[in-house]
């Protein structure tokens, strides 16, 4: 027994903050607060950028927007519609006010409220992106873990080589190329699936595949590498020394640690899904936000462009915040920034 019983001086013995029990509620609270604040700031930044960009371009923004076939009257109409004849700051505030109330202006061409357009065209896009996201998660995470288990310690080098080659190839094929190839193989050559159209599950298959295959390949590689990394850690050796079964080791010990880096790029992954969706919708002629965006850009329909970019941006920001939250759940060190 040591010279002094440790119970006599508990405060000195721990490296944790004294009064740790007082603070257990706080790390989460502080974290949520911090995230909320940065969320609001980023959203504000997004709104500001979409507002400011067209006004920052040298020259008369209304004239730029009017394009080549402008006359004085069209320019004047545009200027009035966008409120460009008012002082900048008042434009900014009325814009923000409008955004908060869901008023995003009207299309130059159809005069449809942008907000209703967003809803109308947003749903098919959400279906597409959402299905793709689920598919990516369901295949990549278990797939990567299995690949890691099979190739750990340099086992099965042939399998590893094939795995690497296949994922490299699929990871390098951009969405529109994949869409083109899939369309060729399944629609043109095999007549199995429709190449265009908006109806039903069948028309969803090719677009979803086109968007998902690249992220799946990229994520499979990443999950495998991260899982291998985790497998080489000392704490897995400790887990082995407890003679735990493979389920306990992979699901309880490896998975949370391997997920952390995966979640970290989760936000970026989602963005690329959205970008992919925009392109693929145009290949398969689906009536989503992607096609709406392109035609709006080509037709210089600025309020629609602004609205779509805003909505997509907000989605990305919110998804990233969710990812951060999930990250805090799986990696307790990130709460206090100790990772």
């Amino acid at each position: 027994m040591t010279a002094l019983s440790p119970d006599l001086a508990p405060a000195a013995l721990t490296r944790t903050d004294d009064g740790a029990s007082r603070r257990t509620a706080n790390p989460w609270l502080r974290f949520v607060l911090r995230r909320l604040v940065s969320l609001v700031l980023v959203l504000l930044g997004l709104v500001t950028v979409t507002f400011a960009l067209v006004r920052l371009v040298p020259g008369d923004p209304a004239a730029i927007l009017a394009g080549l076939n402008q006359t004085h009257s069209t320019v004047a109409i545009i200027r009035h519609n966008l409120g460009l004849d008012r002082p900048a700051l008042s434009q900014y505030f009325s814009y923000i006010w409008g955004v908060l109330h869901g008023r995003l202006g009207r299309s130059f061409y159809t005069s449809q409220a942008v907000s209703s357009l967003l809803v109308q065209r947003g749903i098919p896009s959400a279906q597409l992106a959402g299905t793709a996201l689920i598919l990516v998660m369901l295949i990549s995470i278990p797939g990567g873990m299995i690949a890691a288990a099979l190739t750990r310690d340099g086992r099965r080098r042939h399998f590893e080589a094939v795995f690497s080659a296949v994922t490299s190839v699929f990871g390098a094929i951009p969405e529109f190329l994949m869409a083109t190839l899939l369309a060729f193989v399944f629609a043109v050559a095999l007549h199995l699936l429709p190449v265009a159209g908006n109806g039903g599950v069948q028309s969803l298959v090719l677009p979803v595949l086109a968007i998902s295959l690249r992220p799946i390949a990229v994520l499979l590689r990443l999950v495998r590498v991260e899982a291998l990394n985790v497998l080489s850690q000392d704490y897995i050796r400790t887990a082995r020394s407890k003679r735990l079964g493979w389920r306990a080791i992979y699901l309880r010990h490896v998975l949370p640690n391997a997920l952390t880096p995966v979640l970290t790029i989760g936000g970026v992954l989602f963005s690329s899904l959205i970008a992919g969706a925009v392109v693929v919708e145009n290949v398969f002629a689906r009536n989503g936000l992607g096609t709406a965006l392109v035609s709006a850009v080509l037709g210089r329909d600025y309020p629609v462009v602004q609205g779509i970019v805003l909505v997509l941006g907000v989605t990305v920001v919110i998804v990233n915040a969710i990812v951060d939250f999930l990250l805090a759940l799986t990696d307790p060190r990130s709460l206090t920034g100790q990772a």
Partner: protein, 342 residues
Amino acid sequence: MLGHNGSHDSKLEVHDLRVTYASGHRALTAVSGVSLAVPAGQTLGIVGESGCGKSTLAKAIVGLAPVTAGRIALDGADCTAIRKRESLQFRRAVQMVFQDPYGSLSPRMTVGGMLTEVLATHKLATRQGRRAEAARVLGLVGLSEQDLDKHPHQFSGGQRQRIAIARALCVQPEVVINDEVTSALDASAQARVLNLLKRLQRELRLSYVFISHDLATIRYMSDQIAVMYLGRIVEYAPTADLFATPKHPYTRALIDSIPAFGGDLVTAPLAGEVPDPARPPQGCRFHTRCPVGPLADPTRQICIESDPQAEATDRPHRTACHFATTKEDSWAIASPPPLSSA
């Protein structure tokens, strides 16, 4: 503050140094009021466990950590201002060798490149003569000219440390700060590096600050020793005196904790662990673990109320403790409580 009050033949002096980091919402004072002096041509050893601030102290001296208060003087000349310590003049006089032999050498440079770069920066050799000079310095640490063209990863840990020492020697320094330089090495490499350092000190008349957590190594290398705990110096003495008559309870605990070769297992002299440096205990920082403090003898409340100041004195052996006596005395005053059932 406990420490050395300076004397005429001190090469490097530090007075009442304070180093504070702003860490999150709390400020962390890693070094709070340290004074010491390195006599010319001798070694000052600084020993302490985790959280004592010895590495921060070293970094502060060379300008890698911010000096919040206090003075630093080289050869009597004040050089507390950061630009003075970042000057080439100071850099020529004071050099440092790090703990990690794998991280302190750039993986992409050749050994020769590292050495000639230093020579070029300080204009210590002509363009033609740099390589020869680099080879000479490398010879001082027991490596050969062929090693100039190799990369760090081709060497062992002990050899890399010797390269790091050679790099520091290129400027012909007067003071070398050794921060845990043998802690990451095997026993055989350790012996070699320690012997080398001693030999270089004799031949080149170097003054050393030698930092370590290992008391035995410190004892072997140092002429004077400062024992640190939680940012303060708790005892300061010539080496022989420190080990013959350690006065501070922490020093005694450190000495007793070292496994004696072939000795019997003793009860651990100290319970608990070092408190969080961000929240040091009130009064004497050691009182929460002190075997002769308020935990052992509740009448010794002074340890909680007041921080033992250094005696303002020129005596060579100083300690910061309200009850500093020899070991025999203190054990008689407050014998440890009987082994409880805890």
